[in-house]
């Protein structure tokens, strides 16, 4: 108290008022802000213990503001000394207050006996401060107390500035080690150095101190001033109390009897004895007005009692005014939901027995997923209506229907249900396309092996056939009689009757020989003229080297009808006559040379090889019936050569894998190709090099195709043993495409060794067709 008094005396009235408030505040602080205070103290204690290595960071945690405060303090110091001083004083008062609170006696803070280094007493503080203010002397001595207080000061926020701090050392909040090597530890307010105490406490001193000084435990070292402070008893007590978690003030009774602000007992008397206002007895005008308004409204029928709610819906004629214009555009986009499927017999409670599932079907049904099932339920049979149970999935089905109705995306789909009958092309009836061969009328039996080739004489009276049994047979067409049988030296590959009616010659090829025969059938004149024609040959002067050797037959061979023998270098597969009957082409299929096709002129016994180049394996060749064209069919293409110009005019793509046979329409503008891959390609030479039509009538490889000379018919024979006759009408009008109608499937040949019909040929005048088969027969269909 003494100090306080001193202070107040010193600083005058103003500081007195401040002191009051400060005192109050401190008390409050003690009461209310105990935790903070407590913390500060403990922190302080910690700081005391690890004095030497107190880091700045730890201090800054608690005195961050102080830092800045101290800075500002420094700046302001120069400007306003007076103000500063005043505040300093105030600070001091507060701090003293704290230290001497309980006892209020500064006597307790006498300099401890051991603290010999402390040069001045706290008593001298005011004096020294005054001195300081006046710029006299060094006041570093009493800074210890002040320093401690500075840190302990918890309520720095109330005074927003740290100017009031009693700072002796102006270095600020820095690690004091920085001054280790200096004789001073900082600067006082006047900028003078504060020197370290002269003596240096070493370890020994410390130890001795510890051993000897009874107050050692209550001594705290202040780093900033490098002085030891001995805590007074009150201070120690305070620390203890705070450590225990008790209130700092001893006199504070924490268990004061509580006095209710309001009683909890219900009182029978009013709190106040004030009589009621007059207005509480007078009816309210405003309310009256309101009520009268309501009454009026009720009278006038404006307000009606609440109607009872309509629970049952009211129905009326909703469509009384049907307006067709009211149909919105939406309705056009509307896709009505399909109706539920109507039940079939199987859904009956008593279905016909064939609709009940068998045991296996039932098992299968049960094992299927619900989605895969054809029937969503198991058909059941009940003997009477009474025995029918409830359908367990009834609600499910209705619910699924609901889901379908509102969740299922709908789409309008045009389902074109094609009537299969409409797909069948409308063709003229075969009946209207007669005549064509319909029935098998004759079978020519005699050969013992498959008949490779047949040919009818131009008069239509005779038929020649060549077979694998090394014979050539001549038949009379009308009777089926074998007129002649000629043995040749190998399996006959091809026989062709000379198309010229004035000549009676048959070309036969076997192995590498082409034989020209005069069968001596028919008109004698023709036969003899033919012989004459052959004998009248005069060899030319210069003998050219030819690819084949022409040999005239003599002796018994001549009697047999052999006339000329053309020996080829290779095996001959096919011979073919030109329409005039003078030229003859033979085919020697060979992939490796250009000598595949030879054209012979019988009258001049001349042979030439028309092709210089090999264009693939030649399958068959044919002469154009009217013009000097020559058709060569290789595996996949048919090439048309102009014999006069000696050039290629056309190359027809057949789209087949392997051509087997070829026939030229007597008009010369159309061509058919049979192939081993079951197809028959019809080419219109005027139209395109691609097939006009591909016919896939046969099930197996085609072996022979033929055109009729006069009738619009063509035939194809295949390995499936059938001959298909088609009506192939070619119009003179170039604009009209050929009409192709299959008219008859002729069957008769047996399939032997997977071979059926090997060759077909038409009768030259009648609508008859001959077919030769692998079953060693020749059949005539009329």
């Amino acid at each position: 108290m003494r100090t306080v008094n001193l202070e107040s005396q010193k600083t005058g009235t103003m500081s007195k008022a401040k002191e009051k408030s400060a005192k109050k505040r401190v008390v409050e602080e003690d009461d209310d802000q105990l935790p903070i205070f407590d913390k500060d103290v403990t922190e302080k204690k910690a700081g005391e213990e690890e004095d030497a290595d107190l880091s700045d960071s730890e201090e800054s945690v608690f005195s961050g503001l102080e830092d800045s405060g101290s800075d500002s303090h420094d700046e302001e110091e120069d400007a306003e000394e007076g103000d500063d001083e005043e505040e300093d004083d105030d600070e001091a008062v507060i701090l003293d207050e704290i230290l001497t609170k309980s006892s209020g006696v500064e006597t307790a803070t006498e300099p401890p006996a051991t603290d010999k280094n402390k040069p001045t007493q706290p008593d001298e503080k005011p004096a020294s401060r005054r001195k300081m203010k006046k710029g006299e002397g060094v006041a570093m001595d009493d800074g210890g107390e002040k320093g401690l207080i500075t840190i302990r000061h918890g309520d720095e926020y109330e005074h927003d500035t740290s100017d009031e701090e009693d700072i002796r050392n102006t270095v600020g909040n820095i690690p004091m080690e920085w001054y280790q090597d200096y004789p001073h530890i900082g600067y006082n307010l006047d900028g003078k150095k504060i020197f370290k105490p002269i003596r240096n406490k070493d370890e020994l001193d410390e130890f001795l101190d510890k051993m000897e000084n009874p107050d050692y435990w209550r001594t705290v070292h202040d780093k900033t001033t490098a002085s030891d402070i001995r805590l007074s008893d009150e201070q120690v007590d305070l620390v203890h109390r705070l450590q225990k978690g008790q209130f700092g003030d001893i006199n504070f009774n924490e268990y004061e009897p509580s006095v209710d602000f309001f009683t909890n007992e219900v009182m029978i008397h009013p709190v106040t004895n004030r009589p009621q206002d007059k207005r509480s007895f007078i009816p309210s005008l405003i309310e009256k007005e309101k009520v009268s308004k309501l009454v009026h409204a009720i009278k006038m029928g404006w307000i009606k009692p609440r109607k009872p709610k309509e629970t049952t819906p009211q129905y009326y004629d909703l469509w009384a005014k049907e307006d067709p214009n009211a149909i919105l555009g939406r309705h056009k986009m509307h896709v009505p939901a399909p109706k539920m499927r109507l039940p079939g017999h199987e859904e009956s409670y008593n279905p016909p027995p064939e609709y009940l599932l068998t045991e296996e079907e039932r098992m299968a049904w049960e094992q299927q997923d619900a989605e895969d099932r054809k029937l969503p339920f198991l058909p059941q049979k009940h003997s009477c209506l009474r025995a029918v149970p409830a359908f367990s999935r009834f609600i499910h089905e209705r619910f699924e229907r609901c889901l379908d109705l509102y969740l299922c995306p709908r789409q309008r789909k045009m389902r074109v249900n094609v009537n299969p009958e409409d797909l069948i092309p409308k063709l003229p009836k075969p009946k209207d396309l007669q005549p064509f061969p319909t029935t098998m009328s004759l079978v020519y039996i005699g050969h013992t092996s498959l008949v490779r080739s047949i040919s009818a004489s131009p008069t239509g009276q005779w038929l020649v056939s060549g077979s694998d049994d090394c014979t050539v047979r001549f038949w009379e067409v009308n009777t089926g009689r074998c007129m002649k049988t000629l043995e040749v030296g190998g399996a006959v590959k091809s026989v062709v009757w000379n198309p010229n009616q004035a000549v009676c010659l048959v070309a036969v090829c076997f192995e590498s020989t082409v034989l020209l025969l005069n069968p001596a059938l028919g008109d004698r004149l023709v036969v003899s003229s033919t012989d004459q024609l052959i004998t009248s040959y005069e060899p030319p002067e210069e003998d050219k080297e030819q690819a084949v050797t022409w040999a005239l037959s003599e002796g018994p061979e001549h009697d047999n009808g052999h006339r000329l023998t053309l020996t080829h270098p290779k095996a001959v597969k096919q011979v073919v006559w030109h329409g005039k009957g003078d030229y003859l082409a033979s085919v020697m299929p060979d992939n490796s040379s250009n000598l595949q096709v030879l054209i012979h002129q019988v009258s001049k016994r001349r042979t030439q090889n028309p092709f210089r180049k090999n264009k693939g394996l030649v399958q068959c060749v044919s002469f154009h019936p009217l013009r000097p064209y020559f058709f060569v069919a290789t595996q996949r293409y048919v090439r048309v050569y102009n014999l006069i110009k000696q050039e290629l005019t056309k190359k027809l793509m057949t789209n087949c894998k392997w051509i087997s046979s070829m026939a030229i329409h007597p008009g010369g503008d159309n061509l058919i190709c049979g192939s081993y891959d079951c197809r028959l390609a019809w080419f219109d030479l005027d139209l395109s090099t691609k097939p006009y039509k591909m016919l896939r009538h046969h099930k197996k490889a085609l072996r022979g195709v033929a055109y009729h000379k006069h009738y619009p018919l063509f035939a194809s024979g295949a390995d499936d043993g059938s001959v298909i006759i088609c009506h192939g009408m070619v119009y003179n009008d170039l604009l009209q495409n050929p009409l192709i109608v299959p008219v008859k499937v002729l069957k008769g040949h047996q399939i032997t060794h997977d071979l059926g019909v090997l060759d077909v040929t038409f009768h030259p005048t009648q609508p008859w067709v001959f077919s030769s088969g692998a079953d060693a027969t020749i059949r005539l269909f009329t």
């Binding site: 909703l318 939406r330 016909p352 499910h396 609901c402 309008r412 063709l427």
Partner: protein
Amino acid sequence: MGGLQKKKYERGSATNYITRNKARKKLQLSLADFRRLCILKGIYPHEPKHKKKVNKGSTAPRTFYLLKDIRFLLHEPIVRKFREYKVFVRKLRKAYGKAEWTGVERLRDNKPGYKLDHIIKERYPTFIDALRDIDDALSMCFLFSTFARTGKCHVQTITLCRRLTVEWMNYVVASRSLQKVFISIKGIYYQADVLGQLITWLVPYQFAHDHPTDVDYRVMATFTEMYTTLFGFINFRLYQTLNLVYPPKLDSKAESELKAEHEEDYAMDSESYLEKLSALSASLARVVATAEEEENQLDQFPADGNMEAREKEQKEQEDQNRLFEGLKFFLNREVPRESLAFILRCFGAEVSWDKSLCIGGTYDVTDETITHQIVDRPDIDKQYINRYYIQPQWVFDSVNAKMCLPVEDYFLGVTLPPHLSPFVEEKDGDYVPPEKLKLMALQRGEKHGKIQEEEEEEDEDEDDDDDEEEDNDEEDEDLTEEKNLKKMEDQRSQGKVRLEQEEKAEEKRLAIMMMKKKEKYLYDKIMFGKKRTTREGRTAHNNSWNGVNGMVSNVVSMWLMPFH
């Protein structure tokens, strides 16, 4: 090359569709509300033609609605009601939480509700449109009317459904429009011809339902809400067309009779009235007391070729409507009373039942004038000699056959003939069960079995006669020769026919050869399908499943994959 680059998916079909989520966001509705709105307004997803285009290049499975549909929903006043209801629920919950009971009551009083009248009018601009779409409504209402009055839905809904279905049945009875009935394992199908529209509905058997857990009853309830509104308006209109009072009232005469009998048994008048109606035994009151059904004769149009056919048709129809007229039925207690009473009344029969079974029975078992008693038990103790005791299937089969079938097959304890579906219409080539063939023969007027037998007998007689005659007369030989000649001719003609047939077949075969590859493939496929159908028919399972190849291209609306 100027011009802006065209952005993808900003024109064309991509702009015509909207995904469900976007639609929901646009409408600012919760999913549940959106669904309810879709159900009520009849909005359904559409399957775009080019899904990928619409889906902006993505192939993710999405549901698409037409943008126009959603725009149309934007203006729906009911959407606001939905929002109001949401607020109401929130307020109510709050009031409950605070235990403000007066507030709860007040809120309850002001509960927002909505009417669907305008939606019905908008969805079905004409009455016939509505009638066409009533199948589902009927089935749903019949289902709901069988629910127990606890749990799954509001009692009001159930009673309303019951009321509407009873009204419907009364209408069908009054208009005599029932056509076909079918007892299936699911329930009983009925088909009626109402104003030219064939309407089919399914009524479950009268059992307590085992309510499944995986069914969302809210969806069903929303549908029912819509259906009841629709159904009520349709009933009103239908009653109007017949000059009947709506809501239906019993004929005053019938009413007084009923009252006198049963007043003491039934306390609640309002409840019992519906039951009296549902008894279907009395006729309904008319607005104008007209003379009994004046037959509207078809006017004679002189130059109408179809006239005869039409007349004939109408006559047939009338005959069918009077199928049971003059017959007096009694229903035993074990048969389904409602369905049988409904059917019998539809075809003009008088029908009664045990007094303890239901209100509205008009005569007793002991009545001597009863012609048929419908019994579904193997035997009955006391039998009257002047009536047939038949099983219920007789009624159903007779209705489907449009004639009273011989009762012998349906006597007590007799194994019943199979019950066939009247909805199956066999096309040529389909499998027809033998029972149906027999029935068709019966309908044509032949008595199938008997006639055959008779014919055989006749033949025998003839043979006998021949023998006798041969013994006696020689002239008859000429006769026999003539007969032989005839036979020969017949054979020849048969041969000709066969030849022709063969020719035709070959023609066809040849024409098929000339088909193009593509068409041939299609043709083969169709023919294969046909063959399979017949094969399956022959093995006697269901012939109606496979696609039927009609002559015309028809427009089919399809379900696509449902996204449940």
